[in-house]
Symmetry: C2
Subunit: 481 residues, 2 copies
């Protein structure tokens, strides 16, 4: 009768229904309970499940030190405190929108143009995804999404909106590229099931793949959207992390090059500063739509997730500094490239292959040879060993809805170089031991025994750990209904 | 087919469907087009429609100047920049939650206790209301709400959740107090219509009345909620603005005094710093629930509206300063009392009566004698004259769902003393002219002629301006369906 019962309480307590799937949740718990520290806890779990960018924060810190007027809390800027703290226009500070538009252009190599009047704020990309889903779809409607995909879309895009996400299957033999055949198949399958498809949702650069989408694939998606009169939502929150060729192509560029390719009303971009700048705490999400009605509606919805004006003020100054942002983006890419090369080279040294990538804060690596069973369960078992014994919290592909077992995402930009080296050493030791055990047993399938030996006893008791999808509505009200 | 048509575009363009009703919207437009400025535009529209608190911002500014270490943008605090900007735990900074809990206690005279572990963040009270609605109700479920009520609840509580708000009628002859009879009648009416009532939503202190709820009424509501097993959501965002007796009683106090009065799982408080401190730009909303499942669920939903860590850091320090907050709250109340007295005395001088109030940033005043017709339409016509000719943007009672015509809310804390005096002079002149015109016409109904003379010609063309309720879902998707 309106009070949540035990069933809901337990569902909330176990993390079900909040958009993070179980293996994600468990891995983070393992890290939280025993976090690595080079001196105080050198045998702790290293967090490689967090797509966080810590590589250039000190450049921002330097800028702040040199530009005290940018803050409303310094003697140089405090005279603005009253006006800024009291400001509540949901359009945001004009200078903030201008600076964001400019930064978005720069992160795309200056080839795309963004109009500050179309910049809409939201509470991180999380809020942006939800807002765009609310704007474009009704409960029960669906968006197609290529797999593997970012697990928290199940929270951001689906949870409170009731929108469905239907997979477009991508395969390792295509380097996980979206093919027109799989796109059409996913669309047809939904139509056959009488599900109304309202759009396609992609991340470009891809999370978890770390790849940028080639121009032709992007054009295929745009054309498909136009032909079927469905929306295309492009999450481009990693656009500033492209550290290597081929160069990043934004959907904005595709539209600019050939406006006739698609009705602009169907194209929407999600952006954020959490990844490119490494400031997730600031909660800056952006919706950029070519559709006037969406801009207008999303702006009204932005009341639920406006960026603090204190933060708007700071970023308006910082991102308005042309020389600084040029240097920052260039240096950030140099550092990411260096880190990526060091990490993937270390993995290659023990025969671990990564998908060739040029962006993002992570690698998509194949541990297929280490699987005992080439199944989702086998993958989760291996993941459990890596968390519990190797003490690395990486993320299993199944948590990204990947349909091929054995892929894992490992993040490398949320730690210092020494920690990454420690992680590599642990991986090397693990693989070497696995190799030795396999050799000793002289089995054909090299890794079998090694894995069996290394499994903790309590694995026997493990129940299925495959990600459970949440209900689109609050878990609290489901059982109360 | 997924693209918004002309109909939706026009609905969004006219402001329908975004949670602000028409008269609100028009009045703000009038202000935006012609804003008062003492020197540059002395005949412009004075904004009295904004419940904003500008009376004590300079005390905070002084504090910031004296406490540079509180900010991550000063040389004293910048060493924390990296950790704070990069922080992304949706529990928030522990010191922030502690400081908020302490401040909430202080704003309630130290008589209520708040546990930092139950402090959940949201994007302003706007986000808090939506989150609590998502947690407690399904689309179509209803909350009862005493009238008059804050118009933007139609956006915050209803828009994206699909929850209904059903009025509990309150009357001027009861000083707009909630009576048990009207409460029961509203509940019965919903039940008769097969609408599932999930709770009661109140503001205490009341917006727009500026009154605090007496202990007995509050206990009646709590008991009713307990008996019917429905929730009670208490929006207490004006708790720090109580400037006069009787003393403010929080629902937290009622529960503490007598835990047996109600199952705590049914009680939830919404708080914010936008009104008490006058910092709406900082977007600090708080959900405080006695229900563990709601705390847990709301915290996960807070991902959509977290407070910027830059702002959390500053407020953790500022609100953690015990002496400062004691002085700030006391001084704020003194200034509000002074302002309220000056404004209401000015109104009384020309015979305008206000509901006796002791809190908030506004007065609830009766302009019944100035109405040509004692109807909602008559009220809107008078309001139009006040906006267009008297150049004061006050808010008509109908926009607050008030069922008795002739009441208006006038805000007095979003301006300096001189501007308030200018507003009072304009009101005096208006009423005097209306009186003179009435006397000249020697009619029995004194104000009739005066009003007719003062109506602008284009009023004839005005269509009905009564507030239209929005659809609970995005206007964009309604017509596209």
């Amino acid at each position: 009768m309106g009070i949540p019962g035990d069933e809901i309480l337990s569902r909330v307590a176990t993390g079900d229904g909040h958009g993070e799937n179980t293996s994600y949740f468990d891995g983070w718990k393992a890290y939280d309970n025993d976090p690595f520290h080079p001196i105080h806890n050198p045998n702790g779990v290293i967090q490689m499940g967090l797509a966080e960018n810590q590589l250039c924060l000190e450049l921002m810190q330097d800028w702040i030190t040199k530009n005290p007027q940018a803050s409303i809390c310094t003697k140089e800027g405090v005279s603005e405190f009253k006006a800024i703290a009291n400001f509540q226009d949901y359009h945001g500070l004009p200078d903030f929108r201008k600076a964001i538009a400019k930064f978005m252009e720069k992160a795309r190599g200056g080839r795309a143009r963004f109009d500050p009047e179309r910049i809409v704020m939201s509470g991180g990309a999380t809020g942006a995804q939800e807002t765009i889903a609310f704007c474009l779809a009704n409960p029960g409607d669906a968006f197609l999404i290529p797999t593997p995909y970012y697990p928290a879309f199940d929270r951001d895009f689906r949870w409170r909106t009731g929108v469905q996400l239907l997979p477009i299957r991508c395969h390792s033999h295509d380097n996980f590229k979206i093919t027109e055949a799989e796109l059409a198949a996913a669309y047809r399958k939904a139509s056959d099931s009488k599900i109304r498809v309202k759009g396609i949702l992609i991340t470009n650069p891809s999370n978890p793949l770390g790849t940028t989408m080639d121009r032709e694939t992007l054009r295929t998606l745009v054309r498909f959207a136009n032909e079927e009169r469905i929306h295309l939502v492009c999450d481009e929150i990693f656009s500033g992390t492209v550290f290597d060729g081929p160069e990043f192509v934004s959907v904005a560029e595709i539209l600019q090059e050939d406006p006739s390719i698609c009705d602009g009303d169907l194209i929407h971009i999600v952006y954020s500063l959490s990844k490119d700048l490494g400031v997730p705490g600031f909660r800056v999400g952006i919706i950029y739509s070519y559709n006037d009605a969406v801009v207008s509606c999303a702006r009204r919805m932005s009341s639920f997730g406006l960026v603090s004006t204190q933060t708007q003020r700071l970023l308006a100054s910082m991102l308005g500094d042309d020389d600084f942002t040029t240097d920052l983006l260039a240096e950030s890419r140099r550092r990411l490239l260096h880190r990526h090369r060091a990490f993937t080279a270390g993995l290659e040294g023990v025969g671990i292959r990564c998908l060739k990538s040029n962006a993002g804060l992570f690698c998509w690596m194949s541990l297929k040879p280490l699987l005992k069973d080439a199944t989702a369960e086998g993958e989760v078992k291996l993941w459990r060993v890596i968390v519990d014994e190797v003490k690395l919290n990486i993320s299993p592909g199944s948590s990204f809805h990947c349909t091929e077992p054995g892929w894992f995402r490992a993040c490398f930009a949320n730690m210092d170089e020494e920690t990454m080296e420690t992680a590599l050493r642990r991986i090397r030791t693990f693989v070497r031991r696995a190799n030795e055990a396999a050799t000793a047993a002289k089995t054909k399938k090299r890794w079998d025994t090694a894995l069996r030996l290394s499994l903790p006893r309590r694995l026997e008791e493990l129940t299925v750990l495959t990600p459970r999808l949440m209900s689109p509505r609050s878990p609290l009200v489901q059982a109360a209904t």
